[in-house]
């Protein structure tokens, strides 16, 4: 075999491609609970992909499964998680470790607890750089300062010497973003990075992530429970409910013509889409817990359009181009049943 095939501009494949992913957690009593069922989606280079769902929908588990942050003894992965040509779902630690923090990085929901309280910002950033050796010697410090400037710190030298407890939540999250981007990753996973922040700072942190991702050509898997937060920045949106991707497609299509009753209900909850004087609406009921999942559509108990067929068998998947929906009776015609 030869490696000397001349460079050909291959069509850019997806950075991340998730195929038929099911996740199972092992409960303390030994039961095996399915928390995500047959999820498939892919993220192209530079694409901002929003995975939206209520708490308990399984979105955080998908994020952590991609990086394999949950021990195998707790989380069982079925299906494929392809990062480029590599299947991460069954990769060993030796394969995963060099990817983590370098090719794939992650920021978390709680900036208050995601930094080590005993280390200065400089040490925490430096160890991220040193773990992968992409920058050496004096370049490392330069790189760290550059990243701190890019996450909009006015006095990065001062931030370097700070301990986490000396920073506000928003500042800590910006440090986390700097750490996540310092090694020029291909994929950033952001698990509700703004949820724990003050409303005024949420927007700024989101803007920083979106802006840097654009500048660096970075693919982003953005996890959120809040559709209104992501629809301005997202290229694609997937809506997760009860461990099932109900609908996914280009952000514009999802927003303008949702095909799943659940997506439509979520959109109705977004404050500024309300019609003048109409009352703020919520969705009646709550997400069914894993133990209560039955046959048929998981949303059936809360769906305004529910029929008898919704309670039977697996839901059909309808798709037109890159817009797909898993529903017996989509709200608009997506053509082919798959």
């Amino acid at each position: 075999m030869s490696n000397s095939i001349p460079d050909q501009p291959a069509p850019p494949g997806p950075v991340l491609s998730i195929e038929g992913l099911s996740l199972f957690v092992r409960a303390d009593d030994g039961r095996r609970l399915k928390i995500v069922e047959n999820a498939s989606f892919s993220i192209a280079p530079g694409q901002f992909f929003a995975l939206v769902g209520e708490s308990g929908s399984g979105k955080t588990m998908i994020a952590r499964a991609v990086m394999r942050l949950v021990p195998d003894a707790v989380l069982e992965i079925d299906g494929a998680i392809r990062f480029g040509a590599q299947d991460l779902a069954h990769a060993s630690e030796r394969v995963l470790r060099p990817l983590r923090g370098s090719e794939i990085t992650m920021i978390f929901q709680e900036p208050m607890s995601s930094l080590n309280p005993l280390m200065t910002v400089e040490r925490q950033l430096m160890e991220t750089v040193d773990a992968h050796g992409r920058f050496k010697g004096d370049d490392r410090r330069e790189r760290i300062l550059e990243l701190l400037r890019r996450v909009r710190f006015r006095d990065p030298e001062l931030i370097l010497k700070a301990f986490p407890h000396e920073l506000s939540g928003g500042m800590r999250q910006r440090v986390m973003i700097a750490a996540a981007l310092i090694n020029e990753p291909k994929l950033l996973i952001a698990d509700e990075p703004t949820t724990a922040l003050d409303v005024t700072i949420q927007r700024e942190v989101l803007d920083i992530i979106a802006e840097l991702a654009r500048d660096m050509g970075l693919a982003v898997l953005f996890i959120s429970h809040d559709l209104s937060l992501v629809y301005e920045n997202a290229d694609k949106i997937a809506v997760l409910y009860g461990g099932v991707i109900m609908e996914q497609g280009p952000a514009r299509k999802i927003i303008e013509s949702p095909a799943h009753p659940y997506t439509a209900a979520l959109l109705a909850c977004v404050p500024h889409r309300r019609l003048n004087g109409s009352r703020q609406v919520g969705i009646e009921g709550a997400v069914p817990s894993v133990a209560d999942w039955g046959e048929g559509c998981r949303f059936v108990e809360r769906c305004g359009q529910a029929r008898a067929v919704c309670r039977v068998g697996p839901m059909p998947l309808f798709a037109k181009y890159d817009h797909s929906v898993r529903c017996v009776a989509p709200l608009n015609d997506l053509g082919e049943r798959h």
Binding site: R100, G101, M106, F108, F163
Partner: protein
């Protein structure tokens, strides 16, 4: 930080004041006084009264306390009834033996217990973890006097492996510099004696260490399990750090505060709690001295030794505080006056 430490040290004064007051009053509330013990059995009442007067025991208790307080500021705790010698001198003479035993015991316990705790935490739920728990409970619930006597009977008397009493065999002499024999042997460059000295320390130290291993291992295990669930550990994994780096730089330093605390507290308990073990092994330390002093109601000596114990206990706590400052910037910040 310097100021915070100075404040801690100042806080020692009222504590010592209270301890001595309570001690003084309690010892004198007990029925009978030293005079009864000092005089021969056939002495008359007038002789007892004479002795009382000579030692100032006929004065009001508060006056006695005041005189004690003034004198103790000059490290004068009076003369031992039993030995007739200066109490402070006696304490200084016996203290190194106790300190040596305490530190060796603690070092033994920590060297065994901290790694055991780490292993138990990293293999939580495994058979090894269970075995360590059983060992820990056995250690805590075994009385030291029983274990000490058992070791003496088995290892010394039966197998004749290790000496059972004292610090050195009769006839072996060592230049007395610090009183800590291992240190003295090194200072005098008698390295050949190190083995012999250790053979005398090992049994009492092991007896003391056995009870502590369990506690320190359990606290270490708990601290590490707590820290391992922290989000910053997940962050460290997601940065692609090696397992060893995560344990050394993230897990251990954050688990250090409770571990340092328990080791410090155990040291305090050790220094004052080695009395039984010292007596069992005829270890010529402060504990043996206290035991003898109590049995003859040698009040000045008992008072002096308890003050010495209290002082050491308090300073160990100050030392723990200083270690906190060094380990945790948040504690540093909260104390920056």
């Amino acid at each position: 930080m310097v100021r915070a430490i100075a404040l801690r040290l100042l806080g020692v004064i009222p504590v010592l004041f209270l301890v001595t007051l309570v001690l003084f009053v309690l010892l004198r509330l007990a029925p009978g006084d030293a005079a009864d013990l000092l005089v021969p059995d056939d002495a008359g009442e007038d002789e007892v009264a004479r002795i009382r007067e000579r030692w100032g025991l006929d004065r009001p208790i508060l006056e006695q306390y005041w005189r004690f307080l003034l004198a103790s500021l000059q490290l004068d705790f009076g003369r031992s009834y039993r030995y007739g010698a200066d109490v402070f001198g006696l304490i200084v003479e016996r203290l190194p033996a106790t300190i040596e035993l305490a530190f060796i015991a603690l070092a033994l316990a920590a060297i065994v217990a901290v790694p055991l705790g780490i292993i138990a935490a990293l293999r939580k739920g495994s058979a090894l973890d269970g075995a360590i728990s059983v060992f820990a409970i056995a250690g805590v619930s075994t009385p030291t006097f029983w274990l000490g006597i058992l070791l003496v009977l088995f290892l010394s008397a039966e197998l004749n492996l290790l000496p059972s009493a004292g610090r050195l065999p009769y006839g072996v002499t060592l230049p007395h510099v610090t009183g800590v024999y291992l240190l003295d042997a090194i200072l005098a460059w008698r390295l050949d004696l190190l083995g012999l000295i250790s053979s005398y320390i090992i049994l009492p130290a092991l007896t003391l260490a056995f009870g502590m291993i369990g506690i320190i291992a359990r606290i270490t295990r708990g601290a590490i399990i707590d820290v391992a669930q922290e989000e910053f550990i997940t962050t460290a994994v997601s940065k692609g750090l090696k397992r060893g780096e995560i344990i050394r730089h993230h897990l251990m330093p954050n688990a250090a505060v409770p571990i340092v605390t328990i080791i410090g507290l155990e040291l305090g308990v050790l220094i004052s709690g080695s009395i039984i073990v010292e007596v069992v092994f005829s270890w010529p330390g402060l504990g043996t001295l206290l035991y003898q002093a109590i049995s003859v109601r040698d009040i000045p000596l008992v008072t002096g030794i308890v003050v010495a114990y209290t002082t050491m206990f308090i300073f160990i706590n100050v030392l723990i505080d200083i270690i906190y400052f060094m380990v945790d910037p948040r504690i540093r910040a909260s104390q920056a006056v």
